[in-house]
């Protein structure tokens, strides 16, 4: 390892630590949000340095792009309320000490667990050995959608539950169709028009790439969701033809499809979500397609929901 590489990594590590501490301690909400976005970027660079381009890609798409938009969106919801400064939660000294103590204890415990772990070679060799039977050529995709597809299924479930929470908190009428307020003459409108085809193309490219290289359902879903967000920002409202039942179907689709595939495997006498090797390739592609669609749509809904709640609050429509 040459000294330049060590210097680069050291600098990056310091930057990440500083961003993390500062994002937690900075006053107000605005500064932490922007520091958190920067933190995501630094993390993406760190994953890149650790030769994990898959994670770097996910971090770039989710951590910086999408999460940033959602945070900015929700930030607006807070600062909109009467006072400009968000209410500061009251902190007691005892609670702070408890929190710091618990964190340190947990960190210490984790550190001990890692140090006390017996030397193992990990599962990389086992995964590489079975790669041929997985139906794809990229080991990360093989793990995510075949060997450990259970995890991916539950991750999609997490998104679904989050959307559920948003429904509960904001009411269902947040999804009333909105009139299109497209402003084609504006700079943003023009940018959206020129970016949109490319964003869609890159989304599909990432989905297709997952078979052989870094890419896959989550990254593709995020990029497709971003396409929807761009449309909303460009002024295209929540479309008329997206009836409530269709919204719900699209939200559920990925999760339900994987459940169906998993159950059919059970009925065929295999384990849950175990694909027969001959069908693995097409099945993974179908599952990925369904997952991409649902992930993208869910993320689009997250954004649109918060955005519409903010620009035209459903309950206060008489105001304007």
């Amino acid at each position: 390892m040459n000294p330049v590489a060590v210097g680069f990594d050291g600098l990056l590590a310091l930057l990440i630590l500083f961003l993390a501490v500062r994002a937690l301690t900075a006053p107000g909400l605005q500064q932490p949000v922007i520091l958190f976005i920067a933190f995501g970027l630094a993390m993406a660079l760190a994953w890149a340095r650790m030769r994990a381009p898959d994670v770097a890609l996910a971090e770039a798409a989710i951590g910086t792009g999408l999460l940033g938009v959602l945070l900015i969106d929700s930030l607006g919801l807070f600062t909109r309320s009467k006072s400009e400064t968000p209410p500061q939660p009251r902190r007691s000294r005892a609670a702070s000490i408890l929190a710091v103590g618990t964190t340190l204890l947990l960190a210490g415990g984790l550190g001990f667990a890692i140090l006390a772990m017996p030397e193992a070679e990990g599962l990389a060799a086992a995964a590489a050995e079975k790669l041929g039977a997985s139906g794809v050529d990229h080991p990360v995709t093989a793990v995510l959608l075949n060997f450990r597809s259970f995890d991916t299924w539950l991750e999609i479930g997490v998104l679904l539950i989050a959307m559920w929470g948003l429904f509960c908190a904001g009411g269902r009428e947040g999804f009333a169709p909105r009139a299109t307020e497209a402003r084609p003459g504006t700079v943003l409108g023009g940018t959206v028009q020129s970016l949109l085809p490319l964003v869609l193309l890159v989304g599909i490219y990432l989905l297709w790439l997952g078979k052989v290289d870094s890419g896959g359902a989550f990254q593709a879903g995020v990029v497709l969701g971003a396409a929807g967000i761009l449309l909303r920002l460009g002024g295209l409202g929540f479309p008329d033809w997206l009836r409530p039942w269709l919204v719900r179907t699209l939200l559920l689709f990925g999760f339900a499809f994987m459940l169906l595939v998993g159950l059919s495997a059970l009925f065929a006498g295999a384990a849950f979500l175990e694909y027969p090797p001959t069908l693995a390739g097409p099945l993974i592609l179908a599952v990925e397609l369904a997952a991409t669609l649902s992930i993208g749509f869910t993320l689009y809904c997250f954004f649109t929901y918060l955005f519409d709640l903010r620009i035209h609050p459903a309950t206060a429509s008489s105001e304007s």
Binding site: R183, T186, V187, L188, T191, S194, L195, L198
Partner: protein
């Protein structure tokens, strides 16, 4: 070192100079609009020079075109962001009275 490597070296270094200029401008300029001006132009040019330098080294035309695409997209994003932020700050500082809605 081959000639193409030398050219890459020079282009990348020139790019770094522009990044530095952008950062210095961001930190030193007195008001928002000067900072915006300094930043969005300088670092886009810096990225362009680095992309140009790297294009000589990637070996395949497809990869070189991808680099070029990244720069074109960065141009588009940077321009749009500059306009949006400038507009936002302008309408904020003049109380939003002088701006026509929808323009």
């Amino acid at each position: 070192m081959t000639i193409s490597e030398g050219v890459t070296l020079i282009l990348c270094l020139a790019g770094a100079v522009f990044f530095l200029a952008g950062t210095v401008g961001l930190l030193r300029f007195p008001d928002f609009f000067s900072r915006l001006h300094a930043l969005t132009k300088a670092d886009t040019l810096g990225l362009g020079l680095i992309v140009l330098g790297l294009m000589l080294q990637v070996g395949s035309i497809a990869a070189a075109l991808k680099l070029l695409l990244i720069w074109v997209l960065a141009l588009l994003a940077s321009t749009t962001v500059c306009h949006l932020l400038g507009n936002y700050e302008l309408s904020r500082s003049s109380g939003g009275e002088k701006r026509k809605a929808g323009s």
